[in-house]
Structures are given as structure tokens and as C-alpha cells.
Amino acid sequence: MARAPDTTALTLRINGEERRVAFPTHHTLLEVLREECGLTGTKHGCELGECGTCTVLVDGKPVLSCLALAAEMEGKSVETVEGMQQANELDPLQTTFADLGAAQCGYCTPAILLTARALLDRNPTPTERETRAALAGVLCRCTGYVKILQAVEGAAALRRGEEWRPPADVLYGEPPGTPAGPAIEGDRDG
């Protein structure tokens, strides 16, 4: 190694809990969360800021934990997927993601859940287009994003205190023999 790594010791505020952590100064928030703090719910897919899998919330905003040094986190509030549930109660996003299979392999799920949470915190009634735009920094290879969008929509309703149950087509697909309809217009970017 070119140089012996410096060590940083500081107090991190993670999921509302403060803890004193010491780590090599060049280590990223991703590494420190997973390795020093044992919070392995935060995943990684490239370590270059190209996939979004490592997204966590810092001061309420989604950031890429692979491109942030833990040393920069003093005085900031970090939120990971482990902090989403209240006691044993799931966040509405977690509920709808689990119910609809919006988490398949589950690997991008923490990043998407946190990003969606940040979105709903600032915009409780996002349009599908707004949701797509907000989540577009995280790649998912399993779901085609369809169930994710449906789950965010449901969670947004639940968070607003509305009654929501998954529409039948979300659970069973469209019944064959549905009358012909043209393509849905203008429901995505464009």
C-alpha cells in the first residue's frame, strides 16, 4: 500500500441512533455502514455511482453511499433500510412492496424503498411520471419496475391515511377478453 491508512473516529447518527465509530478515513459510507456498523441492508452493485443500489438517505435525501466518505457524515443524519420500520410495524412502503412482490430478489429493494420514502416525504401525491423520475437512479433487473410503481402508489395512499387495497389487475393481471383499448397515452416521460 502506498500509505498507511489514516483512521477517523466520529459519532454517526444512523436511523436516529448515535454511535461512535472508528474506520479507515478513505472508507465510504457504504463500507462503514456494512462493515463497521453491521448494517448490511445497504447493498452495492458497482461502487462507481452507476447503479443506485447503495442509495441511503442523508439528511432525508437519497445519496449514493458508495460515493460518500463516512468521514463527511459528522453532524448529518443517515437513514438505512433497517430504520424504516417502527418497532415491529412495517412502513407502508415495506408493506406494499412485500405484498405485491415489488421485491423479487430484494437486492435493489433497500435503495428503492428509501428513495421512494424520500419522494413521498416531499410529495405525498406523486404522479406515476414523478415517481418514475424520482426512482430513475436505481436499477432493478427483476421487476421491470411495474410492481414497484404499483407498490409506491399504494403506499402513498396508505401514508395519506386512505383505504387502499391492491386492484384486482395488480394481483391477477388483466382478465383476458378485456375490450380493446388504445395505448395509455402520456403516462411516461415525453
Partner: protein, 342 residues
Amino acid sequence: MLRLPPFEFRMPATLDEAARMVADGGPSTRLVAGGTDLWPNMNRRHQKAETVISLMRIPGLAGIGNGNGSGELRIGGTTTLDAIESHPLVRERYPALARAVESISSPPLRNMGTLGGNVCVDTRCTYYNQTEEWRRSIDYCLKEEGTICWVAPNSPKCWAHSASDSAPILAALDARVRLVSTAGERLIPIESLYRNDGIDYLTKRPDEILTDVLLPDASDAASCRAAFWKLRRRGSIDFGVLSVAAAVWTDGGGKVAKARIWLGSVGSQPLFAGKASELLVGGRLDAEALLESGRLARKVATPMDNTDFLTQWRGVMVERYVEAALREIAGLPQERLAPNHP
């Protein structure tokens, strides 16, 4: 997984302190703001540093507001991209800048990346933005450790392309940047910040810190209309393979008084499409002029086989995108499709 090599990390609390640190630091010292360019480059080991100085703890270096009482808008160098795209002053006065900024990479990256970082972003090339092991397998390239530019092996110059989406629109809008060092400060037009060289692409000295971007008074917004169009494969995450920034000032009679068309990602620096701009001056933005302007702009562009999409097709797209940007300014209907247009 990829990890950063060790380095000394310093977080100065004042600009003076930062300037001193970087002046004393020597060649193995680098500045970092959002980290979205430097950390990946260091992860892949094509940028190296013994000491990294963060600008993010310097109060006042981030922020958006009116500069010196005039209508000038000042955007601090460490202002994050998400703060710019959502800022009411920017959206109101410089909507094309907001568009350019919101087209950069992805939402979480824009929550970290800064305007100074985007203006100074390293040039890119598919022979360069690769891991240490990959670059060994091509015996490196001219930009870093090697002797040949693999994009154009007979060329004495490195053809890595400019990757800043904010630079072309800032240039089109006549923005200036402030550079500060222990030797003092200088305020230069953003276009003179760049060189058409993939390696030595900035005129900024390593000891200078980009503190502000200044946009000229837009109180005469009625006379200036600007547009930003960007081509890339996907609507998020991707770098642009072409960006077109156009600003057109019209006189009271609706004739073009001034026009500035800038191209991004098709050269080692943002490129001014001079003839394409001049052609418009004195006339009206009719369909024919716009087509011709696109044709002239294409001649300036030098797309190379070092990014996404087929090179020749990207050349065609310069024409189409310049025309599309001008149509937007002229208020003409868009006949064409640009799936990822923000």
C-alpha cells in the same frame, strides 16, 4: 468490490485555508466537492491522490443568490445540482440551465454532485474510464500512463470528450467563473476555462478553486430565450453523448440580435458553433434557417468512437438536435421525437 486507495482527507473550514492547503499540497493533492467524479476515478485508479481536500465544509461556497446587487445570479461552486434545478430563481430566469442540470446523471447523484464539479468534470473516454486491470490490458492510453490515443492512434492529441452538461448552457448564456487561489482571484468567461485537449482540458491551475459561477443579468429575459437538448441512451444515469445549448437574443422587431450555440460531449471541450450561430443573426428563426444552422453546427462537432452510439449517427444527430433546440426557441412545433429530452 472496488474500494478507494488510502489518502489523507482534509476538510478546511474556510476558503483561505483551502487555498493554502492546495497551494502547499503539490501535484498529488486534489480537490473534491460532491465526489461523484473523483471517487469513481480513484476507485478505478485513473486519478490518484495522496491528499484530498474537500470544499464541502466551507460556509458560503454553496448557495444561489443575486450577486453584487445587480441582476447577476451567483451560484456557489459547491451548490449541489439538485439545489440548482429546483431553485425558483434558476427555474424562472434560466429554465434551460435548470433543464441541463436536471439532465445530469441520476437523482441521487445530483443530490451529491456540485455545479463546480460538473463544470470541471474530467473528460471521458471508453479507453480511459476503466479499471486499472482493464487499462493494463490495452497498455494504458495517452490520457493516463500510456503513449497512444486509442481513439485516433496517429493523433498526437488525446480525444477524450468533454462530459459537462452545464458547461455548454453556461457558455451559451455568457456565464463567468471565479477562480480563487492564494495568489488572488480571477473572473473569466466560462468558455475560456476550457482547452480542446482531452488531457489538459482546463485552463484552471491545480491550485485554483472554482468558487462561483456568475450568470449575467436576465432581467431582459424577454429578449433572450435559451434551450438545452441532450442525447443519451437512457433518461437517467447516462452521460450525454451530445448536448446542445442554444441562446438567442431577439430585438424588438423579432429579429435575431445575437445567438450562441454550444455543443457538449462532441469534442474535448464545449464547442462553439460560431457559423451556425452567426447565420441566425439579423434574420428570423424560420424553419430553413434552423435547418441550415444545424448543418453548420455539425461541421464543428468531432464525435469520436469513445462513447455510446455509432459515431456517424451522432454526427447526424448534431444537425437534428441543433435544429430541435432552435425550434423550441422559435416556438415551432417539434416534429421529431427525442425520447429522453428532459
